[in-house]
């Protein structure tokens, strides 16, 4: 085993954001953690991606920033489907808490659609799913996201026979 790295969660955040994130991490958390074992070798699994960056196809309805501007405690709770073939020039970023410039230069920095295809070509995963997903990760009121958006994402994951989901925080 190589020496173990400990990720410094606050290396890239300023003092106020660090104080907020440390506080949130210290709040009482969920005690029940669900578990679905990885049923097959990854080389046989279909893998989908989920990004919390609020990515939408430019041809799709954009995330609505006015929801958060009117009520800053949460963001647009909807989600968008991104086909496996989506590329950097096809998308826009709706998350108001990040610098969108990096994703706009290269979608793979936050939603590695092309890298996942490469792992499929290499045979390291069975397949990339036909669809990936994105929502806005900022919310202090997750109820509508969890009640309205996640079940529909789950339904499409089932329809596309997905086994494994990689969620990418932004």
């Amino acid at each position: 085993m190589q020496p173990t790295k400990k990720v410094d969660s606050y290396r890239f955040v300023d003092g106020i954001a660090k104080r907020v994130l440390e506080r949130w991490a210290a709040l009482p958390g969920e005690t029940h953690v669900p578990w679905t074992p990885v049923a097959s070798p990854l080389s046989e699994c279909t893998v989908a991606l989920v990004s919390s960056a609020g990515i939408a196809l430019q041809s799709d309805q954009p995330f609505d920033p006015e929801i958060e501007r009117r009520d800053p405690w949460f963001a647009d709770p909807s989600y968008r489907v991104l086909p496996r073939t989506a590329r950097t020039g096809d998308v826009q970023v709706g998350h108001l808490h990040i610098n969108p410039a990096f994703a706009q230069q290269d979608l793979n920095s936050v939603l590695p659609v092309e890298r996942l295809d490469e792992l499929a070509e290499l045979g390291e995963i069975g397949a990339a799913a036909p669809s990936h997903y994105s929502y806005i990760g900022y919310t202090l009121r997750p109820e509508r996201l969890l009640r309205e958006s996640v079940p529909r994402m789950v339904q499409q994951l089932r329809e596309e026979h997905v086994d494994v989901v990689v969620l990418v925080q932004v």
């Binding site: 790295k5 990720v7 953690v33 989920v50 919390s52 800053p72 410039a101 920095s109 994402m153 086994d163």
Partner: protein
């Protein structure tokens, strides 16, 4: 991220989060976490760094196969070596930042994640 992840896991999919703030993701009940020390907005790596992005995605998937218990966390060994000064924040402060400047008494609500009842 952790809240969405646990719902997808509970629905019968095996999931892993790539997270810059693993303690926060874990407190939301995430089943598997691959912690990564990258700046916000570049979770997989720098724009154009296809090899770096591939290495991170591959490492997260391989870590997943080795995890045997709910709540597993692996700290990925990637080092952010660039010294380039990056603008990591949004072009304008997010609405909550501007709101809290005008309503400083609401700060405890924000820190405790107890927002006022929604009007929408």
């Amino acid at each position: 991220m952790g809240l969405v992840q646990r719902e997808i896991e509970a629905a019968g999919f095996s999931t892993i989060s790539l997270s810059m703030i693993p303690e926060l993701t874990a407190s939301a009940g995430a089943p598997r976490i691959a912690a990564i020390e990258h700046p916000f907005g570049m979770t997989l790596g720098r724009p154009g760094d296809a090899a770096g992005q591939l290495a991170v995605l591959r490492a997260a998937l391989r870590a997943m196969e080795a995890m045997a218990a709910p709540g597993s966390v692996v700290h990925l060994p990637f080092e952010w070596t660039s010294t380039e000064k990056l603008r990591l924040g949004p072009p304008v402060p997010p609405p909550i930042a501007r709101y809290l400047v005008r309503h400083p008494w609401a700060l405890p609500r924000f820190l405790n994640r107890t927002p006022p009842v929604s009007s929408s």
